[in-house]
Symmetry: C2
Amino acid sequence: MAMWIWYFGDYELYHHLKLHMRRDEYDYKFPPFWRLDDCHHNVVFHRAFSLDKPGSIQVWARGTGMLEVDGKRYPFDGREIALSAGEHRIEAKLMSMELPSLFVTGAVESDPTWDVCAYDGKWVKADGDWWRQKPEDDPCVFRFQYRRLHPVSMEALEGGWLYDYGEETFAEVCIGNWDEMPADEKVDAPVHLRFGESRAEALSDEAILQVQLNRGDPALISARAFRYVWVSTDMPLTAREEFLPLRPRGSFRCSDERINRIWDVSLRTFHLCSREFFLDGIKRDRWVWSGDAYQSYLINRYCFGDEAIVRRTILALRGKDPVGSHINTILDYSFYWIMSLEDYHMTTGNDDFIRRVWPRAVTLMDYCLQRRDGHGFAANEGNGWIFIDWAEMDKEYAVCAEQMLLLRALEAMQHLAEIVGEDGSGYAALFAELRARVDEFFWDERQGAYIDSFASGRGHVTRHANIFALLFGYAGEKRDRILQNVLLNDAVTDIRTPYFKFYELDALCQAGRQQEVMQRMLDYWGTMIDQGATSVWEEYSPDEPMEAQYGMYGDQFGKSLCHAWGASPIYLLGRWFIGVTPTSPGYATFDVRPEPCGLDWFEGNVPIGKWHGEVHVRVQDGVCTACATVDGGTLYWKGKSVQLERKVVVQLA
Amino acid sequence: MAMWIWYFGDYELYHHLKLHMRRDEYDYKFPPFWRLDDCHHNVVFHRAFSLDKPGSIQVWARGTGMLEVDGKRYPFDGREIALSAGEHRIEAKLMSMELPSLFVTGAVESDPTWDVCAYDGKWVKADGDWWRQKPEDDPCVFRFQYRRLHPVSMEALEGGWLYDYGEETFAEVCIGNWDEMPADEKVDAPVHLRFGESRAEALSDEAILQVQLNRGDPALISARAFRYVWVSTDMPLTAREEFLPLRPRGSFRCSDERINRIWDVSLRTFHLCSREFFLDGIKRDRWVWSGDAYQSYLINRYCFGDEAIVRRTILALRGKDPVGSHINTILDYSFYWIMSLEDYHMTTGNDDFIRRVWPRAVTLMDYCLQRRDGHGFAANEGNGWIFIDWAEMDKEYAVCAEQMLLLRALEAMQHLAEIVGEDGSGYAALFAELRARVDEFFWDERQGAYIDSFASGRGHVTRHANIFALLFGYAGEKRDRILQNVLLNDAVTDIRTPYFKFYELDALCQAGRQQEVMQRMLDYWGTMIDQGATSVWEEYSPDEPMEAQYGMYGDQFGKSLCHAWGASPIYLLGRWFIGVTPTSPGYATFDVRPEPCGLDWFEGNVPIGKWHGEVHVRVQDGVCTACATVDGGTLYWKGKSVQLERKVVVQLA
């Protein structure tokens, strides 16, 4: 099937660059503070092929250049080019200040089997988009879908109107009636708009997203995050939601309506943040962060199961060689990027993508390894940022949580090397060495916990490194002590971001504490939703008064009220309550271990593997019913287990 | 003085990329076959400064982003921003899919003292353009000037009209009367145009530049190379020459009108090829080649003396790190690039530019050195192209001429290291070692010449390596034997390209053979012009019939009839007849050694140094008159010498 093709990874770099030009704050744009790479602008595509019988092709391109078919030159104008039976060779030399891309249809068709080169002496396989199969498609325009929104209320206020769209959205807004207007309409009088994720924000001059239109400005305002809009004019407002058409393949319903609501709000949040790539949040930062994305990959497993957005995000985040800094400038975020490849492979079983990305994993890991200190620890060498979490932590010199991530990334590299048939023994050796050294330097026998930093002598304990030790299986026989001394110890400072709560709750579930996790979800997400949240917030403190909730980074309304990392209940419910997880790449085999956890009943679907695989699970009255659309599953229930065969309903009591 | 500024070197990369999208051949564009780098798209500018008294600034940008003045945010809209007396700090975060650039005017102004960073942990000084001092200037548009052209004849032919503009030009063409038309006019009927550097080309369906306009196509055709245009319509044609406003500071006039004509045609040729950067030719390739550019730098010394175009070309050619291939994929062209820095410094004395470019010289030289063979010779390691010249040459394994260039480049590196205060002794050691080895492997005592290749055992001698040995001063006491056995030996194959003729004639002049060079100029350039050339051709064989002259690369009109490398008479006449050459950087001292060479009289100007320096020389009746607008010169005439003082006329008889 013919599709638009481009240099592998360049579509992602191009749209990643464009995306990062769009964050609005007050009257200005807010570019990210890290290196952003652009696509290649001068490339050549190549394909040699053989025809059994005469045929013809038509060729189009985005960009300018020259098509050579069997050495004869043609323009890229879609003219019919006749080909005899026998051997042929196509070369398409293309330049563009945007994304050079090619579309060939007919006797041979453009697809990712074509070769492409950016004149660096290396030919790679092209990449393409199955959803771009027409000459008139433009790979330089990312394709969203749109739907008309209608406000649930309008209120005359402060000499204008406050529109409430009922829930968080990401939408274009137009002054006037969209359906009756030409696309390039201008306003004929000044208009002031304030967008609010909260009502208070839309009514405040401190609203992060504000637009002042002057006479003659376009009447259409590009898509942005809001639930409320206050507008200074009586002219009607039209809003069109802009979204990526993702179908939820995963679902969850249970006897507790608050839990159902948590799932729904999490899904809404996650869908809004799933666009060209996985975003952190839609008002702010509207950027692509590797740590946030890593969680999104895991959440995606249990709802959309969309492989394409994961690949796009992985490629966009990585950028081009040579590596000049950590991903997003954050040390931990480089490790997450490497870990994400292993997760991607486990989810999809797609060896081909891993083979294509492998060289970029090697150079990134090289970059990380070269920056270790004399002990072999990943330390901050001045140019990076030790993030881990927004938490008080002793970040003096080498930080334990970073070593845990480095260990995990080394394991991932070893595993990825196997997949691509390379020698990963070097990574294995480094792993073994570092693992021993981490225990030697960071384990505090007296406290029965990993400390943040050994250099400071403070022996400070936070949850983060200890959570990782549990999650990654590095705790060994220290497991129970860590659980008691840290995770279940109220004296150790709480995790306050949904970001790290993800890992904490994951670790608790892994330790069989689903009941506790269910309660924590109700306390945190449940309370947030009870207070009116229609999407999950970047951060939330149930004990703070409402008027203090919206601030962040010194801005009164700085907090993002729609943040992907808050959608972890999708992951937690799918992974630990429905209990589905792959046990070999691409869900060739998978476990289903439902955990009713005191609910009267629950049922859910989890996407399985690449295409339309799904497993359905229902638990009620001590009976578990399961059915998968693919082979390979094993259902575990009350000490029994049974193989799931394709489309066969199984019931265990 | 306020000017538009950008990341150092990025203006050049951006316009270099755009330029290489414009080569037309028949119905398509012809992109170059090497890597083209783009500018950074996400940068931050920074300036800390102190004000004695209150003031204000206005800030504009190309791109999108955020301005922070003392931590307070502003848009880039030129609003007046008041500043108190005291310390201030400006940070401008800018993104653009084109060239991010900044303009600040008022109490502090944007100029190359500002710092800029592309988020790679390295701050560099910005670069700017003294000719862009207004907010409305757009650094993304290269500024040319235009002048209306009028045909010298119009002839009704083949159902259309043949316009002859009298000489080679580079011009926009418009169907209709430009002066009466809106800029976006469309044609209302199909029009066919054929452009010709020769009359034959414009009348042939094989013309390289042809345009088929259909109803509704723009009536304006972008600038291109031609002297003749054939057009299928009776509508009038308007042509506007597009050119870089360069003032010739050098001149030459003598008693031989053919020599004067050679100078004029060379200057016309060179001016047409001097645009954003030094081009090889204006019809073809319309690309920037390092070998061609190196000669242009030398020619520029004796006519325009324009420093800016040299800097632009050097930066554009070099591209970004890491080096992925030789410049233009050609081994020799990497060496010329390094050599050009030394020439640039000698011409201008501009240490600052050398300091800025030095890191890029080091990484390019590293790339070259890493690719040497076991003998330490620069050899073709598969991914590069040994060019040297379009000549039969034994290119088996390591080629002697390449080693000569590597030697010269090593000397240049050593010298550049001194300028920037780095240790160049490594380069000096490599030079000494390689020089001995070249003699050992390539010098053929029996033939009294350097051979092309030692590996093949053929012992083939061409002029190229021997010319370099003379020119670069590596011949030592072999000097006269090389001259006799090679340069003056008709049995050794002639140089046929004006490209390598440049070096051959330079070497002959250096050996005091001006008389011979004068004759060769008359035979080659003189004959070409006698045959009607209004610009110097890419290649010329006086003995071939006219109808065979226009072909190249298998195209009947493939040859470029306006090629910069043919403008060497400007260099030769200035360097070896007027006899001016710098003897210390920036012409702080310079020699004037006129060589009348049998002419009744000649006079000329040569630009001296950066600004408006000039030396004027006249020779007649055995008397030499000279005057310079700057100090530092020494006039040598008939065994006598005298210091030239600023604006003092000196006469020696």
